[in-house]
């Protein structure tokens, strides 16, 4: 019996034996490539591989696996990549619950993990680990920015809602941490819920002056479409997850004008970003998403560390990662003491460019922001 390996090997990895062996590095990417959430995983993968390709570096090979968004599959793949493929670094996971399943045992086995998307509070505070680096955001970050923006916009009683799961609880906690007003109502919805008639009725019955919602993926699409037809016209604020390039086209007009918070947008003006947006469009024939930008940054962080340290010297490699000496597409980027980002978080507005719905940055909500959990973290 032979178990095949789904191996997308970077072109130059074939020349592996010819190059300086000490610089070789093998990355395992576990991400969601099939089923409902595949769009996000595909973006992370494409962003990551674009950076790998552009670097032209020798000795880097990438093994990509599909977790089907199932935690037990993800764990099993992590075992496979570590035990069989003998990878040095793992990355790729989209969802918090999958990250919670994989990350602790990965770092416990002495491997590095670079998170291109999920940032659960548990891994930023007490459960942090020296070998775990988050290149995206701590879960609370975008919600905190939304709370800060609500203050600036003069809202004093937002109706706030999120799905009833840990990331949803984090979202509301994050918003309230920054928000100076008093929530007019607080709701937890069902995971995967697609009909928000009941929630809209409760918003209508409240005396809110604004609505903050965290409903990633399809849930957000459904909510926005239904909200637009409800006759309600309270301003909406949310994190970027419901307004990303991949799903914005499915929301359509209903999203136009909505403010959302993000650490990245395609119009951030720096050379790295402009080059990234251009080359991504050329290669994949679509606009890059937030997730693609995170995948791209993750690969570049890894490449920067690889250039200065050998992964077999863990301490040196960790120091190289901590330096974050790469051109992030989001501009300024550094790691806080818990290996989570210190970065700006912007407010974007959904606009229509020709036929395409997209975002533009309208202001900066938080400057050089880092999360509150760092204090609980000691390696």
């Amino acid at each position: 019996m032979k178990f095949s390996k789904l191996t997308f090997t970077a072109a130059l990895a074939l020349a592996l034996s010819a190059t300086n062996a000490s610089a070789d590095l093998k990355v395992g990417m576990i991400t969601t490539l099939s089923g409902g959430g595949a769009g996000l995983g595909i973006d992370v993968r494409d962003g990551f591989m674009l950076a790998v390709e552009q670097s032209g570096v020798e000795g880097l090979s990438v093994v990509i696996e599909d977790d089907q968004r199932k935690p037990d599959v993800a764990v099993q793949l992590a075992d496979k990549l570590i035990q069989s493929e003998k990878v040095d670094v793992l990355t790729g996971i989209i969802w918090s619950n999958l990250a919670m399943a994989v990350v602790p045992s990965t770092t416990a086995q002495g491997k590095f993990y670079l998170s291109p998307n999920a940032g659960p509070a548990a891994l930023a505070g007490k459960g942090c680990h020296a070998n775990y680096f988050n290149v995206a955001w701590q879960n609370d970050g975008l919600h905190e920015a939304a709370g800060e923006y609500a203050n600036k916009a003069g809202y004093s009683n937002s109706f706030i809602m999120a799905p009833n799961y840990p990331a949803g609880v984090d979202a509301l906690t994050g918003y309230k941490r920054m928000f100076n007003g008093e929530p007019a109502g607080e709701l937890f919805t069902k995971i995967g819920q697609n009909d928000y008639a009941a929630e809209i009725a409760q918003i209508r019955a409240s005396d809110a002056d604004s609505v903050f919602f965290f409903l990633p993926g399809g849930m957000g699409i459904s909510f926005l479409k239904q909200y637009a037809n409800s006759g309600l016209d309270l301003p909406l604020i949310g994190p970027a997850f419901s307004f990303d390039q991949g799903i914005l086209q499915a929301v359509g007009e209903a999203a136009v004008g909505v403010k959302n918070t993000s650490q990245w947008n395609k119009d951030i003006e720096n050379p790295a970003n402009m080059a990234f947006v251009k080359s991504f469009k050329e290669k994949y024939d679509r606009l890059p998403s937030l997730y693609a930008s995170q995948g791209f940054d993750t690969a570049n962080l890894l490449l920067s560390a690889m250039a200065t340290a050998d992964v077999n010297d863990q301490d040196a490699f960790r120091t190289a990662l901590e330096a974050a000496d790469f051109e992030s597409v989001r501009g300024e980027f550094a790691f806080a003491s818990n290996h989570h980002p210190i970065q700006n978080i912007y407010v974007r507005e959904v606009i229509k460019e020709g036929d395409v719905f997209t975002n533009k940055i309208i202001e900066t909500a938080l400057i050089a922001h880092s999360d509150v959990y760092a204090a609980d973290c000691s390696f």
């Binding site: 095949s4 935690p71 037990d72 619950n97 399943a101 840990p166």
Partner: protein, 327 residues
């Protein structure tokens, strides 16, 4: 020797040779896959008692798989943080010992199965399928909404639980442990199928009125079958959680119930080695096809469809029957 027995022996040889080869070649991941197969097969052996012998189509066996998993998760997480589960009226502490976890997992599953079974057996046929599904969904949503043990995120355990005298973190040793438990379960199943109880359960499936007419209440027999069945599936759940060092509400989902059912149907309903053959094929396909294409679910679907349409009685059933026809 019957044809089915020959198939079973062949299957045992293959399933022992693969890990042996992997162990010699130092392929720890193949061992992990074998462990996974053995645990899923164990869950299937449990379901096969209710489904195969008793004809009770439970679409809610994920409840017991999940309960086993959460028993492990909850006990181990409390042991990990040295915080007792309960202090009054009496002290209950967490544990990292597999035998204790297994005992509690089977007991909890059996108890819940008793309650669910007693209510569900009021119905029959499709209604039975659906009421068991309803109970599954209740547990699923409860697990998601209950914040104490991680909700949707689930619970991680950093180190696998211990078994006296073994290093369970070593893939080979944990695999041997699961193989041993699967072996015991298969032995138990074969004894059960030929026992007084098995005979009665089998008859209750085919003709409940007959069982009643000879003075036995089918309800009692079927309820007991569900309880035993759940206990074994619960044990498998605890092992599965320990394999992944992780539990999540996914273990309670209807897809999990469906998958356990698929192992049994794929392999052969009511056949001793049905769930083993089914789980082995499923794990094998998952890994073979996953490498072929991003859209490998299509192939999986086509293969499953092929088995239903053209290999009635599952793998073991079809092979055994074709042997009969050839004489």
């Amino acid at each position: 020797m019957s044809r089915e027995r020959q198939i079973n022996i062949a299957l045992v040889i293959v399933l022992l040779t693969v890990p042996l080869w992997a162990w010699i070649k130092d392929e720890p991941f193949t061992l992990t896959l074998c462990t996974r197969m053995a645990i899923l097969a164990l869950a299937g052996v449990g379901l096969n008692i209710a489904l195969g012998l008793g004809g009770l189509v439970s679409f809610g066996h994920a409840v017991f798989f999940g309960l086993g998993g959460y028993t492990m998760g909850i006990l181990a997480s409390h042991a990990q943080t040295y915080s007792p589960l309960m202090e009054s009226p009496f002290l209950i502490e967490g544990t990292k010992s597999m035998p204790i976890i297994w005992l509690i997992a089977t007991a909890v599953s059996a108890l819940v199965a008793f309650l669910i079974g007693a209510l569900s057996l009021r119905t029959s046929g499709v209604y039975f399928i659906m009421i068991t599904l309803a109970f599954g969904q209740m547990f699923y949503y409860f697990a998601i909404s209950w914040p104490a043990y991680g909700g949707e995120d689930g619970l991680s355990i950093y180190v696998r639980n211990g078994f006296p005298g073994l290093n369970t973190l070593d893939p080979v040793q944990y695999m041997v442990l699961t193989y041993a438990l699967l072996g015991i379960a298969l032995w138990f199943f074969s004894r059960l199928a030929n026992s007084s109880f098995g005979l009665t359960l089998n008859a209750a499936r085919q003709s409940p009125g007959r069982v009643q007419a000879v003075g036995i209440r089918p309800f009692k027999v079927q309820l007991f079958a569900i309880v035993i069945s759940a206990a074994i599936t619960g044990l498998a759940g605890a092992l599965f959680a320990d394999l992944n060092r992780f539990v999540s509400p996914t273990m309670f989902s209807w897809q999990t119930s469906g998958e356990i059912m698929i192992f049994v149907i794929l392999g052969g309903v009511g056949r001793l080695f049905g769930p083993v053959a089914g789980a082995a094929l499923f794990v094998f396909l998952e890994h073979q096809l996953g490498g072929l294409s991003e859209f490998w679910h299509i192939y999986l679907g086509l293969i499953l469809l092929g088995v239903v349409l053209f290999a009635r009685g599952g793998i073991v059933g079809t092979l055994a029957e074709s042997g009969l026809k050839r004489g």
